[in-house]
Amino acid sequence: MNELAIESKDLAKTYGSIRAVGGINLTVPRGAIYGFLGRNGAGKTTTIKMLLGLTRPTAGAAQVFGMNVSTERMAILRRTAFVSEKKTLYPSLTPTELVRFSRGFYPTWSDSAVEKYARLLEIPMKQRFEKLSNGNQTKVWLLLALSQGADLLILDEPTTALDPVSVDQLLHVLAEDGLDRGCTVFFSSHQLEEVERIAEYAGVVDHGKLLMESRLDDIKSEFRLITAAGNSLSAQTSAQVLSVAVEGNFYRYVVTKDADSFAAGLSQNGATITNVATLSLREIFLQLVRKEQ
């Protein structure tokens, strides 16, 4: 059995001369919560659309549960729940009617899950979709996705328009219920705190390229902020040095991979290492994206 829920190889999409996704290699393990991070327009939504068969890849290939997204779309969709970035549904239907509409498509549908999440997320089930607030419209999408009994949840900016309480509820649901069922959660976001809170794995995408993908703990342990004091130290960036900030005699290096040897090298050049600190996901993300620019 394929141990990966999602796997892509050089997945690319261009619209005319615009490269939306430029060869992404994703590896999302089964049962994991994977945060797909990137700025607006980074290529997150296009990647998700290709995984769901809404858009055809220009190059490369992708598999979901070992099934090819181009040729085995139906089998993939039977096991996948999706929350779109655009939270639009049929305006005249109520959430109850949307449940009725969606139920028949999935043999794994759970009415008890509908009841549970409708109560938990406080969704007015009898109100027409067009009359619901933006937050409640988002919740309806989530309700439909969570009740589907899917093996894979693909959520594109799922917390858009949600208030902090609802975000908290949603993250709790994804982390607890999702993992209990062995469901894989792949969610795109630029809300780094949300990803940091529940994700086990993260991938950072920018300008259609995957800048980094790893277990979140590994990412955090890999990056270090080294502050050194000295004269005429190197201020050059490299594959290992993501950025250098100079303030007088103080140099602040953001280093990836083998920070200890880098610090030792600085010491040999006469620098005094004043601090070696870990970075938050936000700081790492910003460093990666700035370097890419």
Partner: protein, 229 residues
């Protein structure tokens, strides 16, 4: 499921026209009771109401049926359901088509019963006299054609009003096109869908018209299947 959704979207329009189709002839007969209008003009009234209803219903059903489904935003929801896009195109079409036939059948039966009841000449004798089956088949073929065209254009343009507008433009423009072809190249094209093609037998012409109508839906299906959402 999707069948229910299509029914829900069109049911108000369908029920209104079903009522109109059912009562138009009986009401007209009751109103003109004693005036001999039914006896004198009943058959032409029957044919005209049948034709008018079958002109309005396909345009409405064609434009309503697929107006939301293939809209850019809701398509993401619909096309991530585990069904082929062809299923959605043809299911929407089938529901509207069934409603269309139901309205036609009810109007026909109500008109038939009314004329049989009020006319001095029983309807069955006029049916094989001044009225023929072809009198009913022509508007029905036109109606199927108009429905398939409107539905397909609504699917392709992803908007009910645009689909309706484009369909009406084609339907009204078709006689002018046929006349232009006849004038320029001396080729006889039927002026209106439902009329016979040149010297072809009527039955063959009708089959060709229906096949052309189905080709519109098939073309819409092919486009929808290839559309990137």
């Amino acid at each position: 499921m999707y069948f229910w959704k299509c029914w829900r979207d069109t049911r108000s329009f369908f029920v209104v026209f079903l009522i109109i189709a059912a009562i138009v002839m009986p009401v007209a007969a009751v109103v003109s009771l004693g005036s001999h209008l039914v006896e004198d003009f009943g058959t032409s009234a029957f044919l005209n109401t049948f034709g008018l209803i079958l002109m309005a219903v396909p345009l409405g059903l064609g434009a309503i049926g697929a107006s939301h489904e293939f809209d850019e935003k809701t398509a993401q929801f619909l096309f991530t359901k585990p069904r082929s896009r062809a299923y959605f195109v043809w299911m929407g079409w089938a529901v509207g088509f069934a409603e269309l036939l139901a309205v036609a059948a009810v109007n026909f039966l109500a008109g038939w019963a009314t004329l049989s009841h009020y006319s001095k000449n029983p309807f069955h004798s006029t049916l094989y006299g001044s009225m023929t089956a072809q009198n009913f088949l022509d508007p029905l073929i036109f109606c199927i054609w108009a429905y398939c065209l409107t539905y397909s254009l609504t699917v392709l343009l992803r908007n009910g009003l645009k689909g309706l507008g484009a369909s009406m433009a084609i339907l009204f423009g078709l006689p002018f096109f046929a006349a232009a072809v006849r004038w320029r190249w001396h080729i006889d094209l039927p002026l209106v869908p439902g009329l016979p093609f040149g010297g072809l037998p009527l039955a063959i012409s009708n089959i060709i018209w229906v096949l052309i109508a189905m080709l519109f839906v098939f073309a819409a299906q092919l486009v929808v299947e290839r559309t990137e959402i």
